[in-house]
């Protein structure tokens, strides 16, 4: 792994880096544009969306796409475009939060595992093994069922947690292998000799040097988290009606109506695919740019 050298040539912390990135990675730039568009839609949903996302209008039930309702309406007469715009908010918030929590905790665990080595490493790795062999759906079910609903700003925190937990072992594996090469650097031993605490060394000396894989993981797992949220909502374990969420829009009534009203599943499915596609495209290019040899 050539983390240290890679971060010299392409420091993600420099703002000009974005321009350099876009020039070197046109596909990645396209992904970035889609992500930014989604972000704007999510932030300004109230201003952009033509209707209210949760208000029932039986007068406009199951309308095909038209000028009035570009993506049609669902069985409750709710505008699908509106629900997709608000759904971006749900997807991005849950996607980003769970990926952030998962990758950060996983990253710290990975660095700690690499730093302490020996027995601690062994124990942590066995724990990671257990987590990796554990079906995600069970985790989600248990977290959601046991903790109930804890809402913060309209986001179900327990769902975020349920999606973040399976990310922890996966990201910790990757970060650990990157951190192992950092651990071998002489300045880490120097820092230890200098009497710095383990926490200090992990956060101040090691973490900045695994920033590249961390960022790659973060984008990759936002995509995974969006997909996972969609699957869980589809199974009825995720977001609850009438909240707008893309996976949820494919479940319930949609599975009942999609033959008569294919727009009900077409657009939410495209929204999921496009957003995950954009994050993957961006993440891929980011990896190529930051560290071509890095592998997920």
């Amino acid at each position: 792994m050539s983390i240290a050298t890679a971060s010299n040539t392409a420091d993600p912390r420099r703002p000009v880096a974005i321009i350099a990135f876009c020039r070197a990675q046109p596909l990645g730039a396209a992904g970035l544009i889609v992500i930014l568009a989604m972000g704007l839609a999510a932030i300004f949903a109230e201003a952009i969306a033509p209707y209210e996302p949760e208000v029932i209008n039986f007068g406009a039930m199951l309308m095909a796409p038209s000028l009035e309702h570009p993506f049609g309406t669902d069985a409750f007469g709710r505008d699908i475009l509106t629900r997709i715009i608000y759904g971006a908010r749900t997807a991005l918030t849950i996607g980003f939060l769970s990926s952030f929590i998962g990758c950060t905790l996983g990253g710290l665990l990975g660095i700690a595992s690499a730093y302490f080595g020996g027995r601690a490493d062994l124990v942590i790795q066995r724990f990671v093994d257990v987590m990796l062999s554990f079906p995600i759906i069970i985790l989600a079910l248990v977290v959601v069922a046991v903790l109930g609903k804890t809402e913060l700003l309209g986001i179900d925190l327990n769902l975020v947690l349920a999606i973040a937990i399976p990310i922890i072992p996966r990201s910790s594996r990757v970060v650990r292998s990157a951190a192992l090469s950092v651990r071998a650097m002489p300045y880490i031993d120097a820092a230890r000799a200098g009497g710095y605490s383990a926490w200090h060394i992990i956060t101040r000396h090691m973490a900045p040097n695994v920033l590249a894989p961390y960022l790659i993981l973060l984008t990759a797992y936002i995509a995974q988290a969006i997909l996972l949220e969609a699957s869980l909502s589809f199974l009825g374990l995720g977001v609850s009606e009438p909240k707008p969420a893309w996976g949820l829009m494919l479940a319930g009534d949609s599975s009942n109506f999609y033959q008569e009203a294919p727009w009900m599943i077409l657009f939410p499915g495209l929204a999921i695919s496009l957003s995950v596609f954009a994050f993957n495209l961006f993440g891929d290019s980011l990896r190529d740019w930051l560290d071509p040899k890095f592998r997920l």
Partner: protein, 317 residues
Amino acid sequence: MLRYLSRRVALMVPTLFGVALLTFIMLRVVPGDVVEVKLRADGGHVTEEILQRERTRLGLDKPLPTQFVDWMAGLVTLDLGNSMWTGRPVVEEIGVRIGLTVQVAFMAAVISVLIAIPLGTISALFRDTWVDYVVRVFTIAGLAVPSFWLGMIIILMLLTVFNWSPPVTYTPFLESPLQNMSQLIWPALAVGYRYAAVVARMVRSSIIEVMREDYIRTARAKGVFERMVVGRHAMRNALLPAVTIIGLEFAFLIGGLVVTEQVFNLNGIGRLFVEAISRNDFILIQALVMLLAAVFVTMNLLVDLLYGVLDPRVRHA
């Protein structure tokens, strides 16, 4: 080799034990039990005493450590217990459904390998040309499209274009291969796309990596026909990571079928899992989790062993 193998097998034991313990604890903190679902269904009205009696019969009133030890003792002797919902042995419940799930997973794996290896190779050889871009967009899309949605779209297409829907009951392959395939090929395609995408990406990046290695450069410099280089040297080394990912993804796939089986109304392990969960059929959920975990760790082990066989450098690491 034998020592390495036994060490790896020994390492599986604590992992599986950890999964067992975690599953057990997590399930017991979930509210509700199978008894209420069973007896209260459809307006059944039962007293607390009846519920309690049924709980006693199922052993749900025993202290948790006893329940865990009982379960562990059963696991060691390969007795997985009886489903709390139907009362039939868990082995039987899983047995009648596992064939279908394994077949779909296997077909998806075959489809994906058939698509992925040529695609990944072409993409690597024509790196940074429009061919590469097209393939990359196709494969990244494969990672982005939710398989259950793809399944719905497939059903919709079959229905609107051909006015035909796949058979709804499972016919074993040996009984009628055509009937069997006409039902299972669709879910295999729906999940196979993602699988193919993952493998193709892996093939592409490892071929690119291998092409950079000195011996390939030497071979190319000597003017050996490029295809020969790729065929002989690059492919063999590049396929290693592909094999890894095929194995690892296979284990994931079985778990991932949970959602797709709902869409296609397949009577497989995934649907059994979802049903067991909605009823809190602890014994069955535990058995299914252990089964999935066992498949996962075994796949890991097989992949590692295969790696050792194909690449002598790894063997003594």
